[in-house]
Amino acid sequence: MQTFTQTLDYEFLQARYLLLEVAGILDRLDEAAIHDGGGVREDVRLARIKQAIGQIDAPANQPDRVERILQIFSEP
């Protein structure tokens, strides 16, 4: 098993890249909504994306963020 520092060394650039990609997607949605002439639209898919983003930095006692986010995108 790798140490915390080894893991962060390996993952840092990937995390930075993926966060920028998600930010880019949200920017694209905002720009498209403005282009359409309205504000940000209500859509359950966008609501789930934002709920999932909230889970990324939520306090966790165990590494289960991926599972919790998959639950958000699942039928009840």
Binding site: L13, Q14, R16, Y17, L20, E21, G24, D27, R28, E31
Partner: protein, 271 residues
């Protein structure tokens, strides 16, 4: 589709790249001088490197119908060694006279150190003296904003003609200052670390296509010349036609690089 790869480190790539790029429509590559992955100790090592990119690589590219051009310089990552750097840059003029050498680059900052600034300034002065185009590397991560600001201040101080300046590796937080100052900006695409093809298209939408060139990272690290084609596909997916695509991925590099008469590929119009 005609494509120019304006920033391509052929020395670090296999011949298969050339073959596949030719198939995809690449008509020319331009190879800047860069860091070899380790710090070199001898001026002769740099001279042989400049010979490789100015004499040998054009022959390898030509086998696939691709024109190969190059830039020579002391790169920022090795510029902290002042005495070696000065030996290297004293030899640049002989290479600037070669038929496929189109300018001085990559120069600029890596860690924004005082020595880097000294060597950057001295190479800008050579570029002014020999009326050359310049290609500027900006730092990649936390150093990028400061390095870009220092770059723009130095260019302004030396009153470098803005149309002859290409500031590369721009991102969302640096491109506006580069374009506002009248320079050309480069977007360098990476597979999974820095600028992505989709973000590059966002930037083209936001800032227009006037003085922006898009290039792939293509070196000895995790990189691929075909990220450029991912970007072309994304640009077209968002509704841009053939001529608009040519303007960005062929004609803009042709316009910038064509300021040096050795670069003979002209902008094309197909529609």
């Amino acid at each position: 589709m005609y494509v120019i790869q304006p920033h391509y480190h052929a020395i670090a790539r296999t011949t298969e790249d050339y073959e596949r790029m030719a198939t995809a429509g690449v008509v020319a590559v331009a190879e800047p001088a860069f860091w070899a992955g380790f710090d070199r100790h001898y001026v002769g090592t740099f001279i042989d490197y400049f010979r490789q990119i100015s004499e040998f690589e054009p022959t390898r590219a030509a086998q696939y119908g691709i024109k190969h051009y190059c830039w020579v310089a002391q790169n920022p990552k090795e510029a902290d060694n002042l005495s070696l750097s000065r030996e290297v840059i004293s030899r640049l003029p002989e290479f600037l006279a070669k038929p496929n050498v189109i300018g001085i680059g990559e120069i600029g900052f890596n860690k924004n150190s005082a020595n880097e600034q000294t060597i950057f300034r001295e190479q800008l002065e050579i570029a002014l003296k020999f009326d050359q185009l310049i290609l500027i590397h900006t730092p990649h991560l936390a150093d990028k904003v400061k390095g870009t600001r220092m770059t723009l201040e130095l260019l302004k101080e030396l009153q470098f003609p803005p149309q002859r300046v290409w500031v590369d590796h721009a991102e969302e937080h640096t491109i506006k200052a580069i374009l506002d100052a009248g320079y050309w900006a480069g977007l360098t695409l990476y597979p999974l670390t820095k600028m992505s093809p989709r973000r590059a298209v966002d930037i083209l939408h936001r800032y227009g296509t006037g003085r922006i060139m898009v290039n792939s990272s293509a070196d000895w690290g995790p990189s691929s010349p075909f990220t450029l084609f991912d970007c072309i596909a994304e640009f077209k997916r968002r509704g841009h036609g053939e001529q608009e695509t040519l303007e960005v991925f062929h004609n803009n590099p042709a316009r910038f690089l064509g300021q040096n008469p050795k670069f003979t590929i002209k902008p094309v119009r197909v529609v």
